[in-house]
Amino acid sequence: MEDFDTIREFLIESNENLGRLDQEIVELEKDPGNSELVASIFRTIHTIKGTCGFLGFDKLTGVTHSAENILSQVRDGKRKATNSLISIILESVDATKEILDVIEKTSEEGENAFEELKGRLHAFSEANEETEGNYVQAKAKVELPAAAESEANAATPTAENPSSEPVAEAPLTDDIDLETAILMKALLGEQGEGFTFVPQTLESKLVPEEPPATEKKAPETISPPAAQPEIQKPGKAESAAETNMSEQKPNPETNDNSAKAKEEPTPTAETAPPKPVQPIAPPAAAVEVAPGPPLRAAAAAAGAGADGGERTVGAKNNAVLDSTIRVDVGLLDKLMNLVGELVLARNQVLQFTARLEAGTFNATSQRLNLITSELQESVMKTRMQPIGIVWGKFPRVVRDLAAECGKYIHLNMDGAETELDRTIIEAIKDPLTHIVRNSCDHGIERPDERIKRGKTATGRLTLRAFHEGGHVNIEISDDGGGINPERIKAKAVQKGLLSVEQAQRLTEREAINLIFLPGFSTAEKVSNISGRGVGMDVVKTNIERIGGVVDLASTDGQGTTIKIKIPLTLAIIPGLVITGAGQRFVIPQVSLFELIRLEGENGMRQIERIHGTPVYRRRGKLLPLTFLNEILKVPGHAAVDDVVNIVVLQAEDSEFGLVVDGINDTQEIVVKPLGKRLKGLSMYSGATIMGDGKVALILDVLGIAQRSGVLRESREIRGANKENKQAQVGKDKQTMLLFSAGRFERLAVPLSLVARLEEIPVANVEHAAGRMVVQYRGQILPLVSLAGQLDPGADISLPKDQNVQVVVFNNGDRLIGLVVDRILDIVEEHVTVRKSSETFGLMGSAVVGQKVTDFVDLHEIIANSGEKWAAHKTLSGPATVMIVERSPFARAHLRSSLEMAGYRVVEAASSQEAVDKLSREKVRIVAASPEFSELAQHVKGNPKLAHIRLLGLLGEGSNPNRHADAGLFEEFQMKFDRKAMLSSLERLAEAVEHSEQELAGVSR
């Protein structure tokens, strides 16, 4: 047999040819009249056949020959490229792939001579259009093991170990442009082992055009069967062809076929032969190939590795691949490693220069820096390949699947030239294939169904790829049946993946993404295409393993889109160096969103806790936090209270904050993998060597997020955010007046209670009956010093020659002025009272405007000051109003308002408490939010309480009609609209009085 190298060459070339063949054949199916395509396909098969013959692979030759026959019929216009024809040709291609596979593994052709197929091919070539279909086999095989495997094998470099299994792994070679080639050659020295530059001119000579010469030769070959030696005209091919001859003999069937083949004008000269003459075809083939091999030999002489064959057949490709060479992948990897090391060394040098500051050395190291960066970029480029090489398979895959499922699918591919690092391409090949298969199998519906749904009979499958930021985006969308979230939920519950309640709480998007759970598959029956149940979760894992993310969006009945986002480079990345848990770590910059630094005493205090999760309020939204020290379980490194460093990271479309000890600088680092024993630790994605030679671990953002549960919480918090927003907006969003008085630097009072803010000249303040008063708008306004009230014994003398700040409160017709030191601000925000206060005059404290603020209890202050408000008298004494309100703050506020208006107030925080107190207290009016429907029902349903009037309290944005028992409430008012509320209360109070009097039988 031929030697190892030649076979390797042959396999590489043939595999490429076959790859192209697939695409061309599928295209031909769509455009059957395209004679150029036919010619091109013919040439390709012809070349394969020729080379097979040269190497003595008769079974291959046999198959390709038969296929060639049929194609030449098409080329000559004797036959049309029907679907059946395409199918049977594809069958031959598949058979060819199979044989190549065996050759790859064993250097021999193996047992299968595909006699059955050849028989059918022959019969097909004799049949006419009506009957030809009989010879075509239904598409059974959908997998592309041959192609996939041989490619996979091809990708493994074996340049280093030629002694290993022969042809076990044919190294894939790479095309890179001239510039880079020269660069590499310079770098690697003149030996330049592993690659050869083949000038274009030589290549052009390699085109195996149908040499008219051979036609003349053909007749010669026919006559004496034994006259083999005569055939070897082109010198070097002699011995090879001879070997050919002898081996061709025991192949009567092949010869029969070829003998019977009737194509005339083809230069292959299978045309001529009458039966008995044995190896007509093969010798013709030998002749045919003759021009080939010597040129190949010449090329081989020029230096191993170069193969012009590829360049020749695809004439249309030539334009693009003007000056390219093939390079062994192992070599490129080695180069990549070296560059990686160089980057590290450069980092170290830079560190030194930073410290030394030695003039010219600086300049030199700068140059080194520049050169290294450029070198790095260039080498990276060599590893970049267009995603089209993965997509190239898909037309065939889709076609086969469509045929098998009885569907019509149109495949659109956009952005095939988008380049990715080869390792990424390797990693996404399988996931993409799986997704495409899914779309064909489950996504796009059968034509009759589609028409029923008002769609076109042909489904559309679109692949898109494009660069964005530091990422490559790949989108696969179909206009098929989409994904039904309810069905998914049901399936998930059925499989025990989550509970019914959990399923109900999911949003549509979350439900659809359940598909990514392991063990999930909704395919009713497991076909050999997909539906094995190992699909989508493996896809997700594979993509995440290379640092990417997958997202699934679908509209039931309309289609599905899968989006994949992958970072562009894996090996050398920019990173942020941080310290935490007592050592340095690196965070890949691609996941980094923002840095937040909290300073001052309030550093730690600004971190709140919601449902036990630490969060930080960032521009109004809650950011879940996680502490690096806690995740890594390194004890004793609690953050120093002064400064809190938060690194805002992005994982899976949500953000979270990582609290670290310190933030250093950003650097380019070389990612080195962790050993086997450490690979399982999900929070590290690798390690690197820092400028000072020490090792630093690289944090895996997604791993950390998952470990800390922050993603889950992030979702909950986002949900809570939304809920709370609505609730809070109703409850606690308030406008406050902030001011200072005495030793209280920051006090607040709801602005809604404030009538006016006044600045009064000290001189105008008078004293009457021992109290301060001022003449104000035709009234006498009593003044109360807040400082004096809060701090008995404090100095409350008014500043001389200055204006006095007075906050004027109004209740009905009475005014009172509170003297304060300074008016600070007016803010509007959600307020939750943190601490209730025992201090006289204060209701409690809360964070307002990001600072801790004390809330004034107006009622207490004013009551204490001796000033009297006019109490609202009713015939039977002060009316008792029950306030039912969850938020203590709002309750206190309402109480303040009501009590100042003269009502007696009873508080309750829940329906239960209210019902309870109602049985003990005589209440006239119940003011509550309409959500307390239980309470409302209780009141109205109980004859003893039925006279009580219900006042509905509304927060901002809440709609009374949303609540079931809204009708039971007499009136509704915004709870912070004091005036309106009070007027409602007045009306209701009167009404209650009437009812009470009626009940009591007292007539007015």
Partner: protein, 156 residues
Amino acid sequence: MKVQQNSPKGAEHSRQYSTFYVADLFFGIDVLNVQEVLRYQEMTRVPLAPDVIEGLINLRGQIVTAVDLRRRLNVKPRENGSTPMNIVVRSEEGAVSLLVDEISDVLEVNPASYEPPPQNLPPEQRELIEGLYKLDGRLLLILNTERVLQIQTNGN
């Protein structure tokens, strides 16, 4: 380079062993499996890694995992202040460093003095030891490097 297995019956020809001490025990590893021997290297800790992994070291640009033999053999921990030495061995997926207390000489041993591991060794040690050689006044325990490097990773 594959880790060579010491044949249980002892070699026909004499072998050379790189020897070292861990606590009071005297060990040896086939010299052919040893890539190099280093003094103490500063290590980067890996939080949440299995206990026996002391950390990572930078070996001429390569990141090598360091396994503490004391912990692996379940021997009492090193005293504060004493720094371990590194014996870098080859494994299927690259170099791994074993932390030992003290490095000793390369010894050539007489195969006749080979014996299988004694029964009275604690189980953790017995499974890591291939056999031993009786030398003058002391026993040289031969480590099965491959098994030493099979470290259970905690489920994450």
